[in-house]
Subunit: 419 residues, 2 copies
């Protein structure tokens, strides 16, 4: 135990982990861009009043926000998601061409109890479509999620779809007054189980019969039954429409209508979704048509989806979908009794050919150099000694197979490009 | 003026800016990896006691650190650089193979007065070599900096090199007691000018004659003069050695010995350097051999360099080295009176071929679709209407030249790959 550790709930990422993370983040970024989404970045901290805005989600999450004051006594907080900052950006920049399609991969902070796959500092990868009220926008962000997960090799995921509007219509029909309070209890279903949700609802003043009705409704998966109970044709059409459009993309097989899903943050207004894989929630989102207005912007419809990067990584790790690599270095130039200028020149050549390489800068003997190569797991070594320089050859060893090849310097290019 | 702005000293990056930033960061990352440096990430915040450690740099920068307490009353602070977290990582992970060569591109925070090119939230791009005391390590990080700047198209930069050891030897020779205090005044030379530095030194109790000696010494550029004044052969050899090794890489033309450089942070122990371009400091670094030990690690030599990403971007912007692009999207599929499934299928094909593309998801007419294309500056449009579907053709328009090409669907691949 050394003097200083990372603060509780946060972690360092050493090369072995970072190489995997970057691989996943690069894939996500590439897919988001292929779909025509543009990058945006926002500050790590925002005005406290923005983050804590009641209908902005802040009410449900207020206790989890890292709060501080700067030296001018401004009240600030670390962002807890990437949606609230996006809504502010859109409110502040009313002339962005619409639909504004952006992605954002970045870290967020929540003062939550740390646990398996749960950290106080974690990364989200979001895509959102701003300024389009049509169901094609909801379907498009879901389709991107499907494309991304397939590209990452996660094909056994499930998207649960629900509609806050539908659940709300149903709750109104049966005479529930405080809809938000019931949403918040339903949202805990997976976490605390049906009995505890029932208990919470009763504690909130609902009669046993109503609690049973609610628990019955959220179990419905059949559209006809849902329509009969909610009596909201429009909201039913909305959700079936989204599933149908998802079918045009070839992704409806992943979708499942599930009324028990309402999502925790208060900014959602209509369709909501959650993606799970290997029994873990790895992302979610929905439509939030009031948030930009709430932050002083023009009324602007919006829908988006957010991946929990750590969760995705954890599942990919468990499924062994990620290469184990301790270093990006591909070739180590082992030097023995030669002018270092030769190593520098060869390294320049290799780098120009796109190859990650390094050589010894510590003046160590050949045994120590190879110890380093083995400790880091560098896959190839080029030996460069007086003999090779004289013969104008390059000797390459594959460190995994032990196989060695010696080629003329002028044939080195083709050998190297074959790696 | 809408309700919420970004906190003072911080900014949003909209796509137009982000695309440029990513281009620069991607280039830096690629070069760092080519040199065999591995990625590391650390938490945004650290224990306050780590950041504020006197000899760790915290003393000079303490007032600029964002300080806060979490809900368990832990004292924390946002990181002000990437070197202190790295030293902690190495102290905590004594078994990392050495030399440990890592890069880290990430944001840091300093509560500084905001100004041109100066923000409270900004990005650094660092490379460091841990565990190598030899001058090749200092030269290597400088060589990477040169390679990176050349690749970015910045060829008129200068590296000023100095040695804290040399300046210290000189100061001891003339009987100065509080070396750190003098360092701190010299560090302000560019900011406040020679007269004010002289005044500060006098205020610190130095006699006029000594102040003049100091101001004379820090103007020396000639190695012989420096050696005569500092009487420290070893430290002189150190710095000339580094310049010579840099020559092996072909980069000594950028280097200039300049004793007025001491750098502000107290963790530097030997050679220090600063890179400037277009009259602006864009990076700096040096050797910090005591920092890892200070944080509870084994005594471990270390040297590194740090780029100020905003500064680099600002200069590249001024030199018009960055493409103006409002979107990553390359092709917009304009749909007119057809089943959207056709657009979805074409988009899938284009994406598979590596092309960023999108289509209208809002059900707008063709004029509005083209307005969107123009507003975003999307370079190509494919028109997809009943006619094209019937003829099995694809009509592509170059939005810059207005030139149109119509090819058979089966020839679309070669047309597209030619873009």
């Amino acid at each position: 135990m050394t003097k200083f550790q990372t603060p509780r709930g946060t972690r360092d990422f050493l090369p072995e982990t970072m190489i995997k993370r970057q691989k996943v983040l690069d894939t996500l970024r590439s897919i988001f861009e292929k779909w025509g989404f543009d990058p945006v970045e926002t500050p790590a901290f925002e005005d406290w009043s923005l983050l804590a805005a009641k209908a902005g989600g802040g009410d449900a999450i207020r206790d989890e926000i890292y709060y501080f004051r700067d030296k001018s006594n401004r009240e600030l907080g670390l962002r807890f998601d990437l949606t609230v900052p996006l809504a502010r950006v859109v409110a502040n920049n009313p002339n962005l061409p619409k639909p504004f399609k952006r992605y954002h991969i970045g870290r967020v902070w929540r003062y939550d109890r740390p646990g398996t796959g749960r950290y106080r500092e974690f990364w989200q990868a979001d895509v959102d479509i701003i300024g389009s009220a049509g169901h094609r926008a909801d379907a498009e962000v879901l389709a991107i999620a499907c494309d991304a997960l397939e590209k990452l090799g996660l094909v056994d995921f499930r998207i649960r779809l629900s509609s806050r509007k539908l659940v709300e219509s149903f709750l109104r029909n049966i005479g529930v007054k405080d809809i938000s309070a019931v949403f918040r209890s339903i949202d805990k279903l997976e976490k605390i189980g049906e009995n505890n949700v029932a208990k919470e609802l009763k504690d909130k003043g609902l009669q046993q019969a109503k609690v049973e009705e609610i628990l019955g409704f959220i179990k419905l998966k059949n559209v006809k039954d849902i329509e009969a109970a909610a009596k909201d044709r429009e909201a039913v059409n909305e959700i079936t429409d989204i599933v149908n459009i998802l079918g045009e993309y070839g992704y409806s097989k992943y979708a499942l209508i599930d009324m028990s899903l309402v999502r925790g943050l208060d900014y959602y207004t209509a369709c909501v979704f959650e993606i799970s894989c290997s029994g873990m929630s790895i992302g979610g989102g929905g439509r939030y048509d009031k948030l930009i207005e709430l932050f002083g912007g023009k009324p602007t419809p919006a829908a988006g989806i957010s991946f929990g990067v750590e969760r995705v990584l954890e599942i990919m790790e468990a499924k062994k979908l990620l290469d184990e690599k301790k270093t990006v270095t591909k070739i180590f130039i082992a030097c023995i009794g030669i002018d270092m200028k030769n190593a520098i020149d060869l390294a320049r050549k290799l780098r120009k050919a796109g190859i990650e390489c390094e050589f010894d800068i510590a003046g160590r003997n050949i045994r120590k150099q190879l110890d380093y190569v083995n400790a880091k797991g560098i896959p190839y070594v080029i030996f460069l000694g007086p003999k090779e320089l004289e013969k104008k050859t390059i000797k390459l060893r594959n460190m995994k197979t032990g196989k060695e090849e010696e080629v003329n310097t002028k044939d080195a290019d083709s050998l190297i490009s074959s790696l």
